[in-house]
Every structure is written in structure tokens, then in C-alpha cells.
Amino acid sequence: MDISRILLVEDEAIIAMLYHVQLRHLGHEVWRHVTTGEEAVDLAERERPDLVLVDIHLAGKMDGIEAAQKISAMAGAPVPIIFISGYSSQEVRGRAARLQPVAFLEKPVSLEMLKGVLERVVGNPKPASAPNA
């Protein structure tokens, strides 16, 4: 599966820079980087991403799960979602799991963690449904 259009949704600048570096090390590039859920939804409506890497806690009123939900509900083939979060409560995990994301990665995210998940996405013609990384 082609993931040349990776949409990164992360409001912490340094962490976003780290993901840029990690993805580059793994042979990928961030296609677009936005800091709010609203921006992510707007962008996804205009141009469909191949993969969404989204933090759950975001600037703005919409959190990452809500943004992912709106993107998933858009017409067309489902977009693979990877959640990244420092929140790992059952409530947050439960909400995220309902969207059947490719993975739910807990911060801090290592290069190895990201590599394993991306390999699964690239290797699958359709988005995987495993809730955990």
C-alpha cells in the first residue's frame, strides 16, 4: 500500500519534529502537518491522505479521536489511522478502538514501534483492524 501522503496531526512542535525524523529514517515523509483536529478534517475533505498519524490530545476543540472519526466517515476507501497518545486509560482506548485503528501507540514512541506499525500498513492492501500496536 502506498503511504506517500502521511498526514501528521500533532500540536507539540518538538514531538512533531521527532516524528518527521523517525519517518524519514524509515523511508517515509510527512505529507502535511497540522496541529488541530479541525484542520485535519478540513484537509482530509479536500485531499485524501493515505495514512493519518494523529495525537489524541490536540490544540483546538476537537480531539484526535473525534477528528479520526470524521475522517473515517468520509466517502471512499477507509483511511488507515494510527493513534499516538500519552493517555492510555480504558475510556480513551475504548473510544479509539471503536474506529478500528491500525494501532494505538503510547508515548514515548520509539523508532522500532513506528517501524513495526508502518510495515503492517505498507504490507496490507487494506487498513488493518488490530486495535493495538
Binding site: L18, G86, S89, K107, P108, K115, G116
Partner: protein, 381 residues
């Protein structure tokens, strides 16, 4: 010759409905000479000797009544009330009274008898009223006391509910705060990892810096894993060391299998609960040893086994043993004088922080033994 009832109506003998029968008897007795002349015994179907009506002689009444056959007297009847009831309906003019010799003394009308009974009933009613009044007063008092108690209880329940709501609110705030703190900590660790990685990225010519950055990020990851143990334990004073070490192992193996074949890890961890002061350094030692073995002992997807055990030793200490059957190390390997930081960290944490003793063996692969005392520090929370 006047009838007995005429004498009665003339007021010669005053026995009326308002009088007690007992009160009337002395009056009858006093006028017996007057009434001796008007002896009309036959006019009365019921004649009772006067003395029989006097207090203390109830049985005589029955004897005379039985003898006169005027009334169907039942054996065992003893009270004036019952006599009255028997007289009713069978003696229209009343009851004749005689002296001991059977001479006519006077008459007690049915009304008088009924009146006496009425008065007695009234007295009883008054008595009952009195008792009822007392009972009602007591009931009212008790009712008032109960009402006051209910009001007090309702007030106390409301206060308790308020306190409970405050406690629940505080608990929710505490849980939210802890959740937020853990989130912030993870975010901060992620930022530190980012800074280290960015620093290495900014110096692409330095392979040593890149390696150091990679190893440092792994150690930051290890701290995060231990941190996760604390968060998941729910009790920061008594963290399950078994859950914690299993969690660390799972995550390290997950990363290892993502990059290739990993060895089998066999954990035999006795379920003990330690203070965070023990779990954190112990988790770091375990993480360092496991990451080191996964990275160096099984190169190029080599299969093998890693065995870890944690057991109590006596009442006051525990022993962590760690061994692998990987490629091993040279015979002259000195674990504590390696340029790499990992084993020095194990030594330093094991000895200075846990107050334990670390031994290393190089027979059939590397093995470590850390014996450490159980914590004596009081729980912090």
C-alpha cells in the same frame, strides 16, 4: 294503695338514672318503715332482698333470684351489670327489695338499674377516656419525638450526601490529575527523546553520536515503561513487580519481533508488591539487562532463550537472576569495566540505589544475580 313506681315518682325513694345503685341503697333502707305498708311483692316478677344488694353479698342475690324463679339466673354470674342485664325485659316496673325476713323494702326501677349501669359505663368510659387521653398524649409525644428524629436523620443524611459528593469530586479530581500528570510525563519523555534524536540528526557525520542517541532513547523508553507500571498498578505504594516486569518484557519483545526474530523469554516472577522506590530501579535494571541481551546476545535472528526469575530469599530479601544462552562474551569479559553504559548502570542501580549485591557469571552465556533487601521505607501514599 300506691304502686311502688308511684312512690318512686313521688320522690319518696330517689333512685334515678343518674345515681349509682350503691348510692341509692341506703336511701331505700332508711325508708323501709314507710314502705312496709305498701308491700306488693306479687306485683314484681323480681324481688331481691336488700341485704343481697349490699356490698359483699353478691351470691345471696343469686340465691334469692333463683328461689323466686323470676329470672333465668346463670350460675357464676357475679356482677351488678349482669344482674341488670337479666332484669331488663323481664320486670317492667323494676325490682322489689325485701328485708331479710322477706318484707317489702322498696323498689328499684329498671331505669335506676340501667342508670347505675350507665353511670358505671360512663365512669368506665371516663376512665377509658382518661387512659385513651394518656395513650394519645404518649403517642403524640412519641410521634413528635419520631418526627424530630426523622428531621435530624434527614439533616444528617443530607450532610453525609454532601460530604460524599465532595469526596467523590475530590477523587475524580485526583484521578484526572494523576491521568494528566502521567500524560504530561509521557509527553515530556517523548519530547526529550525528540531532542536527543534531533541533536543526532543535526550531526549526521557522527556515528558515535547517532548510536548514543539511539541507546539514550531506549533508556528513556525504559523509564516510560516503568512509569506505565506505576500508572497501571492503581496503588502507588504496592506495585505488582510481576505485572511490571511482564509488561516491560512484552513491550521490549514487541519491538524486537518488529525488527526480526526474537529469542524466547521465560519469566518466573514471584508475585510480590513493592514500594515504587524498589519497583522503579528494579524495573530499570531488568529493562537494561533484557534490552542488552536482545541487542547483543542473539545477532542475526539467532534463536535462543532468556531466563529470568525473581524469588524471595528469606523474609527480608529477594533475588533477581537473569541469564541467556546467546553468543556469550569472551572469557576475560569484565562486566563492570565496560565502556558501554548498560552494565555499569545495572551495577550502580543494584548496589547504590537498591542496596543490593550484584554478581555476574560468564559460564555458558552471561548471567546476573542481584540480591537486594526488601524496602524498609514507609509507604508514601
Amino acid at each position: 294503695m300506691p304502686l311502688a313506681r308511684d312512690l318512686l315518682s313521688a320522690g319518696t325513694i330517689r333512685v334515678d338514672a343518674e345515681s349509682r345503685l350503691g348510692d341509692a341503697l341506703p336511701e331505700i333502707h332508711k325508708n323501709r318503715s314507710t314502705h312496709a305498708a305498701v308491700y306488693e311483692r306479687d306485683r314484681f316478677s323480681c324481688v331481691i332482698p336488700l341485704h343481697a344488694l349490699l356490698p359483699g353479698n353478691p351470691q345471696r342475690i343469686f340465691a334469692d333470684l333463683v328461689a323466686s324463679r323470676a329470672l333465668p339466673v346463670r350460675p357464676g354470674s357475679t356482677s351488678i351489670d349482669e344482674i341488670g342485664r337479666m332484669i331488663e325485659g323481664s320486670s317492667p316496673d323494676g325490682v322489689g327489695i325485701t328485708d331479710e325476713q322477706g318484707r317489702f323494702e322498696g323498689v328499684v326501677t329498671k331505669d335506676a338499674l340501667l342508670g347505675a349501669r350507665l353511670v358505671e359505663s360512663k365512669a368506665k368510659a371516663v376512665e377509658m377516656d382518661g387512659r385513651r387521653g394518656e395513650l394519645e398524649r404518649l403517642v403524640a409525644e412519641r410521634t413528635d419525638a419520631l418526627r424530630a428524629a426523622v428531621v435530624q436523620l434527614e439533616r444528617e443524611i443530607a450532610e453525609r450526601k454532601l460530604v460524599q459528593a465532595r469526596i467523590e469530586q475530590t477523587l475524580r479530581e485526583k484521578e484526572t490529575l494523576i491521568e494528566e500528570l502521567f500524560h504530561r510525563t509521557r509527553n515530556t519523555l517523548q519530547m526529550i527523546m525528540g531532542l536527543v534524536a534531533l541533536q543526532a540528526e543535526a550531526n549526521p557525520e557522527s556515528g558515535a553520536l547517532a548510536r548514543a542517541a539511539a541507546r539514550t532513547t531506549q533508556r528513556i523508553q525504559a523509564i516510560a515503561r516503568v512509569h506505565q507500571c506505576l500508572y497501571q498498578s492503581g496503588d502507588l505504594s504496592r506495585v505488582s513487580v510481576r505485572d511490571c516486569l511482564h509488561g516491560i518484557s512484552r513491550e521490549l519483545l514487541q519491538n524486537a519481533t518488529a525488527t526480526g526474530v526474537a529469542p524466547e523469554v521465560h519469566l518466573d516472577i514471584e508475585d510480590q508488591r513493592f514500594l515504587i522506590d524498589t519497583v522503579v530501579p528494579l524495573g530499570l535494571v531488568f529493562s537494561e539487562l533484557l534490552a542488552n541481551a536482545l541487542q547483543h546476545a542473539f545477532p542475526a535472528g539467532r534463536a535462543g532463550n532468556i531466563r529470568v526469575s525473581l524469588k524471595r530469599q528469606g523474609a527480608a530479601s529477594s533475588v533477581l537472576t537473569f541469564s541467556d544462552d546467546g553468543v556469550g562474551v569472551p572469557g576475560n569479559f569484565d562486566a563492570w569495566n565496560q565502556p558501554a553504559l548498560g552494565l555499569r548502570l545495572v551495577q550502580s542501580i543494584g548496589v547504590t540505589q537498591l542496596g543490593g549485591k550484584v554478581e555476574v557469571s560468564n559460564i555458558g552465556g552471561l548471567s546476573f544475580r542481584l540480591e537486594f533487601p526488601h524496602p524498609v521505607a514507609p509507604a508514601r501514599v
